[in-house]
Symmetry: C2
Subunit: 150 residues, 2 copies
């Protein structure tokens, strides 16, 4: 069945959903953040079907989150590196990490943690208002049309 | 085809992906945050197929993000309200909003914005380290096994 597409909806949540609603895609990106670059590395780390991985990598290249570079000519082999747009996506994964860590391990201590490489201190991602540094209060905000520039 | 499930993987990103990788689910939650509660309200706002909406609402109830309450007995009619677990999910949507706003409107001014209800000031969600208030630097962090409690 053909999916309803959200990539031209006016809402940025809808457009982002169109991308990461592809099953496996956030995990392919997670692996890119851990330093994986080659098809075989992604495939082995995730146990993802090869055809699905190829489709996900192709879309992430088309959408500009990954850049494909040929590192060998005979036979031709490519690697995939995060672009600035892909690197910026870390914040979405970090918010997913935090919410999952808080809410999806009901009967166990979550087995993994994010830590600062230098100090070893645990890092807990948190979403704030950029201007104030305060956590978001969803009851205090609303969505509205952006005023047109004069 | 049956999907690979991620809901028992040790990584909180994987578990969250299992939930929001269901096509439409982030948008159903977005509508819940705008105050929609009834099946018909969700259906009209999104133009989502009814069977898909019913399945998505059921899963969100099962997973504990929405609570179903019967508001009429004859005929029986239910509404869906965000639980604390569902309310906490706003941070994930907010991170998706920000990244989409920054990167998915390449040739246009994004038509929508988040504003503070009281002041009308634009709100720009931003992901920081809870302890320091600093933006995350993905190159400075790593994933590791959580130490066992003594």
């Amino acid at each position: 069945m053909r999916r309803t597409r959200f990539d031209e909806w006016p809402c940025p949540i809808a457009r982002t959903t169109d991308l990461i609603g592809d099953w496996w895609t956030p995990l392919v990106l997670r692996e890119a953040f851990t330093g994986r670059r080659r098809f075989e590395e992604f495939q082995e780390a995730l146990g993802i079907p090869r055809a699905v991985l190829a489709a996900r990598l192709d879309r992430l290249v088309t959408e500009g989150l990954l850049e494909r570079r040929q590192y060998e000519d005979h036979p031709p082999r490519s690697e995939y590196r995060l672009t600035p747009k892909g690197l910026a996506f870390w914040d979405v994964l970090a918010a997913m990490w935090r919410w999952g860590d808080d809410w999806l391990f009901p009967e166990e201590q979550p087995p993994l943690q994010l830590v600062d490489r230098a100090t070893g201190a645990e890092i807990r991602p948190c979403v704030v208002d950029e201007a104030t540094g305060e956590p978001l209060d969803v009851r205090a905000l609303r969505v509205c049309a952006r005023p047109r520039p004069d």
